[in-house]
Structure formats: C-alpha cells, structure tokens
Symmetry: C3
Subunit: 352 residues, 3 copies
Amino acid sequence: MDVIWTIISSFLEQLQKPTLSFLIAGMVLAALGSKFEIPAPVYQFIVILLLLKVGLGAGIAIREAEPMTLIVPALGAVVVGVLIVWLGGLTLARLRGVSQVDGLATAGLFGAVSASTLAAGMVMLDDSGQEYEAYIGALYPFMDIAALVTAILLARLAAARNSGLAVQGGGALALHAGQGGVAVEQGSLVRHILVDTCRSPAISAMLAGLAIGFLARPDVVYHSFYEPLFRGLLSILMMIMGMEAWSRLSALRKVAHVYVFYGLTAPLIHGFIGFGVGMAAHHLTGFSAGGVVLLAVMASSSSDISGPPTLRAALPEANSSAYVGTSTALGTPTAILLIPLWIALAELVISG
Amino acid sequence: MDVIWTIISSFLEQLQKPTLSFLIAGMVLAALGSKFEIPAPVYQFIVILLLLKVGLGAGIAIREAEPMTLIVPALGAVVVGVLIVWLGGLTLARLRGVSQVDGLATAGLFGAVSASTLAAGMVMLDDSGQEYEAYIGALYPFMDIAALVTAILLARLAAARNSGLAVQGGGALALHAGQGGVAVEQGSLVRHILVDTCRSPAISAMLAGLAIGFLARPDVVYHSFYEPLFRGLLSILMMIMGMEAWSRLSALRKVAHVYVFYGLTAPLIHGFIGFGVGMAAHHLTGFSAGGVVLLAVMASSSSDISGPPTLRAALPEANSSAYVGTSTALGTPTAILLIPLWIALAELVISG
Amino acid sequence: MDVIWTIISSFLEQLQKPTLSFLIAGMVLAALGSKFEIPAPVYQFIVILLLLKVGLGAGIAIREAEPMTLIVPALGAVVVGVLIVWLGGLTLARLRGVSQVDGLATAGLFGAVSASTLAAGMVMLDDSGQEYEAYIGALYPFMDIAALVTAILLARLAAARNSGLAVQGGGALALHAGQGGVAVEQGSLVRHILVDTCRSPAISAMLAGLAIGFLARPDVVYHSFYEPLFRGLLSILMMIMGMEAWSRLSALRKVAHVYVFYGLTAPLIHGFIGFGVGMAAHHLTGFSAGGVVLLAVMASSSSDISGPPTLRAALPEANSSAYVGTSTALGTPTAILLIPLWIALAELVISG
C-alpha cells in the first residue's frame, strides 16, 4: 500500500507543477465555454520550436557520446512501437462495432509518439532531479515510424485478405504503389510511409535539429534560446492541448464506447510495455532510470500532430473522427497525467 | 508651481522610457503612412501572454498573502467602475448629438480596464522603484465587469423607460433573456454579462493565470519565461496601440465633437476618481502608494480588447464606431500618457 | 596559397556555426521535399523584431557617439549602392536574352540590402570576436535606397530614350508623377521612391528603432529582450531562407542562363566593391575592420524583403520572377555563405 501512496502523493505534487496545471487549466477553460485561443500560426510555431529543441539536444548529445550507445534503445523503441500496434490489432480491431481498419489506425496513433508529451516528461524529470540520456529525443522517430508502418501494413494485409484481390493503395501513396506482386508493393509501401513521415513538419523539424546538433556547433544558440524558451512555450502548449482535448470529447459520442475504454486504458498498458523494455535495456546496457521513464512516456503517448495526416493519406477508408478523437480527447491527456506514475515507479524499482 | 514642474519633468523623463517612446513611435509611423504592421495572430498571442502574466503574478501573490486583504481594494475597484459609468450617464449621455445608448456604451468602455495600459503602469512603477501589491492584477476583472454591467443595465433601463415596453434584449444575450418581469430579466442579464465577459479571451486568460498561480506552483515558469518576456512584448504592443490609435482618429470625424472632448478629458477625471478611492484604501488598510497609482491607471484606462465585443453583443443598437473610436483613438493613448502624472502625484502626496 | 587555405578553413569552421548550419539545413529540408514551414505571420514578426533590434542598436550607438562620424560611412554606403546598379546596367542589362528593364531591376535588388544577411554578418563577427561600429545598422537604408532609386531612374530613362516619348510612370507611383518636364518628374520620382521605401514594413521598423534608440532610452528593453532573442530568431530565419532559396530555384529554369551566372558571381564582385570602399573609409577615418566586413556583407547581399514590392510598383513591366528568383534563390544564400570570406580577408588585410 505504501507504493500506491507514494504514487498518489507524487501525482498530487505533479498536478501543481506548471506542466499539468496548465493542461488542466486548458480543460477547465474549455469546459466553462471560454473563447480563449492561441492563434493557429503561433501554435504551429511553438510545436516547431519544441521539436527543433528536442532534436538539437539529441544531436548534441549523440555527437558528444558514442553513436553506438543509441543502438540498443533505438531497437527497443522499434520493438515497443510494433508491439503496441500488434496488441491493438489483436484486441481493439477485433471488437464488435469497430471496423478492422479503424481499430488498426487507432492502434497506430497510440503506438506513434506525441512530441509534446515527451517534452512534458523531460521537464518533469528535470524538476524531480532524475537524470536521463540527452540523446533520448532521437528515439522518437524510431518508435513513431515503426508504429505507423506496422498499422498501415496490417490494415492493408487485412484488406487484401478480405477482398481476395491485390491491395489497392489509396490517397497519395497509391500514386507510388507499383503494379508488381504484394511483396514488392509492401516494400515500396514501407519506403513511402517512411519518406512521408520524415517529410511531415514535426518529424522534419526534429530531424533537422538532430542533424544540426550532430554535424554543426549550435550549442550557444541552443543554450541561450531554445532551452530557456522550452518550458515557457510548453506551458502554453499544454493549455492548448487541454482545450483541444475537451472540445474533441463530444466527437467521441458518435463512435463505439469501446474507443473510450481503449483511450483511457491503452496509455497505461502501453506505458508498462515501454517501461518493461526500458528495464531490459537498463539491465543490459545501464540505460538510466530517467531513460526508462521517457521510454514509458513515449510508449504511453499517442501522436496528435504528425500521425493523423500520414494515416489519412495511407488509409483513406478509416474513420478519422474515431482515431483522432480517441487520441486527442483521451489518449493524450491520459498519457500526460500518467507521467508522474512512471517517475514514481522508476524511483521505487531502480533508485529505491 | 513646484508641483507642476515636478510633474512636467517626470513626464518628460517618462517619455524617454521604452513604454511611452514605443507608443509615440507607433503613432508617428501611422501618421507618416508607414505600412509597418504586426500580424494579427502574433498580436493576439502577445495580448494573451501579457494577461497570463498579470494573472499568474496576481495568483501567486494572493496565495502568498492573505486572500482577505483583497476585499477592500476589490470593493474599491467595483465602486470606481460603477462611478465612472454613472458619471458618464449624467454627462456625455445627456449631451446633444449623443444618443443615450451611445453615451452609455462609451462610458462603459471608459469604465472598463485596458490590460495593456495596466501592464504599462506596472512596468513604469518598476522602473521608478515604487512598490505595489503584486495581487493588483486581480482587481482588473472587478472594475471591468462592474463598469460593463452598469453601462448595459442603464442603457436597457433607459430604453425600457423610453419605449414603455418590456426590454427586448439584442444579439447573443437575447437568446438567454427570460420572458419574466423586468427585475427577473435584469438579474439574468447581469449573470449573462458576467459569464460572457469571463469567457472572453482576454479575461479568461487572466482568470486562468490567476487560478494556476493561486492553486498550483508555476513560480519557476513565471520567473523564467513570463516575466522576462513581459517588458519586451509590451514595447511591441505599445507600438501597435500607437498605430491603431492614429488610424482610428479619422473615424472620429464622423461623430459629434463632444466625443473628442470626452476622450481627452475622461481619462484624467477617471484617474482622479481612482486615485481618490485608492487614497481612501491607503488610509484605511495601508494600501501602498504604487497600488494607488495602479488603481488610478485602471480607472483612467478604457477597454480596447475585451470590452467592445461584450458591448456589441449586449447593445447592438449602439454605434460602435463612436465608442470604439473614442476609446482606441483618444482614451487609450491619453491614459497611457497620463501614467507619469499618477506616479508623480503619489510621490508628492504619499511618499513626499 | 596560405591565404586561400586560411579562407577555406575559416569557411569550414563557419559552416558549423549556427547561422550557416541552419541555412544549409533549410536548403536540405527543401531539397528532400520536407513539408516543414514557419507560418507566414510568425516569419513577418521575426523579420520585424530583427529590424527593430538592428535599428535600436544603431540608434543607441549614434546617440552615444558623435552623429558626425556616420557621414563618411553613409556616403560610402550610397556610393556602393549606386556603383552596383550602374555596373549591372553596363553588364547584365546589355546581355542577349535579358531585357534592359529586367536587368536593371535585378541589379537594383542586388544593390539593395538584405537585413537578415546583415544580421547574420553581425552575429558571425560577434562570434569571431571582431569588433565593429554599433551604428553600422544605420547605413542599411542609405545603400538600400540609393540602389533602388538608381535602378528605377535608369530603367525609366532607358524607356524614355527607347520610346522617344515622355516617361509614363506605372503602378502606384504614376499617380504622383507630375505633368511637367522630364527633369521635374525625375525629382518627384526620386522623392516618391524614397517615401515608398521608407514606408515599407522592413525599413520603417528599422527607422522606428533608430529613432527610439536615438531619442529615447530603450537600453533596458534592448538588452533584456531584443538582443537575447536576436540570435535565436536569426537561426530560424536562416532555415526559412534556405528553404525559400531552394524552392525558388525551379523558377529560374524559365529565365535566361545568364541570370544564374549573375546570381552566383555578383555577390562576390559586389562584396569586393563594398570591401574596397570600406578600406578607403578605414584609411580615411579609422573605420573598424568589422565595419569593413559589414559594408562588404551589405554590398554582397541582395534585398529579399523590402526591395521586391518597391520594384514591382515602380517597374510593373519588369519580370518579377526573373529578379526575385535570381535574388532569393541564388543571391541571398551566396551572400550569406560568403560572409566568412570577408571576415578572413579583413583579418589578413587589416588585423594581420
């Protein structure tokens, strides 16, 4: 019972930290019908700054460390991304009232990563004094792309099985899909999802930051500009996400109740998967306690910025109000509110 | 004569401070026909950051002080807001060439508060080393809402008297207006103005900041992000307000000259009302000299962001180019330029 | 050979500095088809902040120094602006496949100044520890306006010669053009170009900053807000300019190849002109080594923000995709990449 008590008191303490309090303030504002809003161009800019910061920090860290140390955690991130989608395919996508493609698209989003949730996790770790590998931001695209590729591949395979015909791609990706056999097409499909995801504004900001941090010397501008702005802008981003989550709740009334159940429980289950894989890396390679927390945070989070457009292009037949609604209204706030759990758990299991 | 001389030299000194010099630069740019502009989304974001900062600061201060100490100044703020509108109803609204509803709407805006003028007052006090209660920002909504509610109620009562019929609400508020007697309707009207004002972007940003500051622990992000940005963004806001004021001047040519007279003298008279009420609080409860100045600044200022939409919804029959033009083109710059007067006066009367 | 080696190694070192690495990252992102973008309102705001900062810094410096010391460098800036356009009129504008008005418009843009390139030069000088006169930003409008006026005058004179008729102004400027003789009209034309350029958002932000810096005391807000943001925002601006340059490259396919040659070589030649005039000022008045570098950077740069609209209004018959494309796609990135050359050269010639 002591464990639970520690977690609850740590959670209550975290609620008062800027990150969570701004998130909740945003939800309360939306619930009270406030017309408060951050203009869209400013919101996009804040997201880009956060991702550039995460990328730059990771790039600088990889340059200073051994690039090889990244391999085990990167593999871990890929495994977690694939596992989450595969699990969603076995559960959510088989339930009554959920079409297979909708279930897989939702699982894909929940396997993909939310940059703002990751950023919130970093700030909370900093506040609680737990250290983590600075290169951790570089794991983001590994888990993100693995989840999206798996979800889209499984959905297309299912469609091919169902129709007994060669898979016909939809949307932008169809233009590239070859006329050859299913195997050839799958290879090209994977490549195109990869390219499309890397070209998305969010991931390319992160990758650009990573490249600049790794190849150049942006340390001065990183420490004098990107880092100090990070916490402040995150507080505003949290408020926007809180409002957005609340306003999306109504869209969920039109979809099966099972989405609500999935949106509330999946972040917990996925976080435990990430935590477990992180613990394995901890025992194998000395991966830090903070790193384990951040792997759990990434696994727990669901993509709200970069994922949806990729899924919309690749799976145009999926119902986007189901998967985006579940992720934005339930998955993201739940994942953010769960961060204190992973911090408390790591303290108990590793440091304690 | 020494007093006047002190005030003049203090004023000339203040003109060189960033706040006033950026305001004047904006007016000069507009007068010279410059195409300089700050994009609207960025302007909205700057306003929101300023209001979040004011709210957070007030919330943190109330948490650290006794919430009870707020009661006397808050009552004072309400009294000032009501007095200003009542005075406008007795003077401006009875003049020839001014319809009663237009006069009351204008008095309502001049009773309401400008967040940027208040922010400018805070920065100038900081610069001149005069201290003030950090919770002062929390007085803003008290004066603001009191003035708007009084103006709308008086305008509707006048309309009811004139027509001899039950008041029929207009705009968004009409939807909520009950079918009962005038008294019942007035109660519901007040409630709806209150709710509408609190839901406006500006006031809800302030209230969200207040709640976060009071209930959570945003101190780190407040000191590392909101406070340092405050002065810089205020300088840009002042430039925008200067340009806006100048460009609205032409709209005033179409309305009665008495609006020009009101726009230029009301900030001075209202400032003295605020100063007087502040002095009473000073003698009763030891309210600080800086607090007296800021009460005068709030009373002197006229609402340019949150007030107009509320009035437009509640009094659709009022001529918005009269009241918005008078407030934006004359009231706001006059109130900002008068700030040094209240600082000098407080030094003479209280500190001197 | 040592000289060349020093320049090459200094160049490679500068490539790793934030300024150039963000520029190159932007070009790579665009080349890889990334959908990364900074929303236009935020981009405009960043440009305005940079120009306010450059103006404020120059204004503060002029106030603290003797205003008279500005005269020789300002004359030098005018001479450089005129020389560059005159040279373009003798070369580019006479080539086959290039209409005279297109050639002169292009030379006008290459004679005008890019604020972001100038800002990049300042940051790189700061990084390499070379000092420069803080008033140097005030030279910007002298070179900028001289070049634009010369280009437009020469283009109109040529048109008058060709048609044998009185020059008929086009666009907005035509409204002001008098009915008198050519000489009278030219005087009024120069005045209108001057007024129009000074009213453009970029130049008026700079001039407003200059006036505030010179007449008021914005030092606190300058050091606490404008200066710290400068480097950070410049890094983002460089990324946007890199992407913009790459995406404009395709527009160049439609124009004569000689534009590509001009766009790549003119920044080098113009930089040497600026460097030479700066050296003259160095020997005459002790103008600093850093000042010589910045004069070369201004001469080398081509206008990408304030110049195009002025040219479009004054020379509506010129092909804007030729001159804007050449300047944005080739002139600006080349000029930025050449900055290390001028720094290395100044070290060799002056300090060494």
